[in-house]
Amino acid sequence: MTATRHDATWSTASVESTLALGEALGRCLNAELTIGLVGPLGAGKTNLVKGIAAGNAPGMGSSVTSPTFTLIHEYDGRLTLYHVDAYRLRDTAELLALGFDELMRADSVVVVEWADRVRSAMPEDSLWITLALTGPTSRDLTFQAGGPRSQRCLDALQTDDKIQA
């Protein structure tokens, strides 16, 4: 049986609603999931990760800062959350040299900012989230599941009654 694959788009009007969407996603995470974030500078990728970290561990959101220079951040919670940033990397080989493969474990979730730059290192069954700016604080977030694991997470998010796509 193959899972039905479809896109889902959420429109958020404010930084707070983007955080809330991230928090709902953080509650739906399943182990070994990889999430790829795509979007221009200022789209709110790090903000979404603040939400995800808060959903995965209450209060953790304020600890999340941009990993652009520091490359990999690690946050405790229900699952270990690895926050990776490919902005400074020139190619996939550099990401692999950082030990990217070793981050994907039975008790962890990996979120990669600028994941389109390292697409070939991303598992096929990744959850892709594309962020588009639609105004000073409003954003469109389009979710795309690449396989059954990411589809399960997306399905769970869509049944969250506080967050309607």
């Binding site: 200022g42 652009t68 550099e94």
Partner: protein, 339 residues
């Protein structure tokens, strides 16, 4: 007299240094300065924690040889324990533990950011402490109260992007080259810092934390038009570009300086020190120096060699832990995030 070997592998740079009594730098080697391509052949990846393995032996040897000493002359070995990439840190930590065991020398663990906070004291003829320390780099933006090198308290830090990262990303929006800090500093000197009123994000009125994420979006929309993320750059004249760079830089510097003065008021201290890679920015240095002079505060900026990641600051702070008897065991582990 205590001779300390410092080892730093927390992020991109592989570095080793020999420092006497926490201030007299005998050698300060950073891998990019060593001709590793010649020594090893082939390409050493710019950003790869595993590259530290290939570089570290040569860098330590170079640091000892330039200082004119050998392993048995040392009094202790200091190493960066965190924060940073755990895989990268472990290479330095493992090397330091091995040398500590092989040469029977005490091991000292050092926090990378706290070492930056103390770096402005290196080379001064008297101690600047107690002081408020502003540390600004690509990866970090923090305020500390340094009572003395063994008593350092964090007052605030960035809640999203570091100031150096904002410089790099705004440079990218403006089509300038990487690294963006020096590029913005250069073109901003021809611009009007009052041309555009970019937001100064202060968070809560009494907060000593920083937020530099929102200013990226402001610059983006100023360049391309409200709601647009492309198409505007081509329409800007050189002068308009310089004005945006100068106005952006002024907004960041204003926030850094105001928060530093808030920290001075809160702590009642009368000395300010500045360190980290962005301490090289002329507007930040000059503005902070002027504000301190007007308020009769003492001001010291770290020397350029100790602004970017280096091991001299690790050996310098390590000396104080060594002297205080605060030693690490061979079970020392690295940590990713600062407490």
């Amino acid at each position: 007299m205590a001779l300390i070997l410092g080892i730093e592998t927390s992020c991109d740079e592989t570095a080793a240094a020999v420092v006497v009594d926490g201030g007299d730098v005998r050698s300060n080697i950073v891998a990019s300065q060593v001709d590793l391509h010649r020594k090893y052949g082939g390409v050493v990846p710019e950003i790869a924690s595993r590259a530290h393995i290939e570089r570290l032996d040569a860098v330590i040897e170079e640091a000892l040889s330039e200082a004119g000493c050998a392993g048995h002359d040392l009094d202790a070995i200091a190493v960066t324990q965190g924060p940073g990439l755990v895989g990268a840190l472990l290479i330095g930590v493992t090397a330091a533990k091995t040398l500590s065991w092989a040469w029977s020398k005490p091991l000292v663990a050092v926090d990378h950011i706290r070492a930056h906070a103390c770096s402005p004291a290196i080379g001064l003829d008297r101690s600047p402490w107690p002081a408020v320390a502003l540390i600004v780099s690509g990866g970090h933006t923090s305020l500390f109260q340094v009572n003395d090198p063994s008593s350092i308290e964090r007052l605030g830090a960035t809640t999203d992007d570091a100031a150096g990262e904002a410089f790099d990303k705004v440079a990218s929006i403006l089509g300038l080259e990487y690294p963006g800090g020096p590029a913005i500093d250069r073109i901003a000197s021809n611009g009007n810092p009052k041309a555009v009123n970019f937001p100064r994000t202060m968070l809560a009125p009494d907060s000593l934390d920083f937020s530099f994420s929102g200013i990226k979006t402001s610059v983006l929309y100023h360049v391309h038009g409200q709601g647009q993320t492309t198409g505007g750059l081509e329409k800007l004249s050189g002068q308009a570009l310089a004005d945006i760079a100068a106005s952006f830089q002024q907004a960041v510097v204003d926030v850094l300086v105001r928060k530093t003065m808030l920290a001075v008021a809160r702590t009642g201290l009368s000395t300010v020190v500045l360190g980290g890679g962005v301490a090289a920015n002329r507007t930040l240095r000059n503005t902070l120096a002027t504000v301190c002079r007007n308020r009769k505060l003492e001001f010291h900026a770290a020397a350029m060699d100790y602004c970017t990641d280096n091991a001299a600051m690790i050996a310098a702070l390590g000396f104080h832990s060594f002297r205080a008897g605060d030693l690490a065991g061979l079970d020392l582990d690295a940590y990713a995030i600062s407490g």
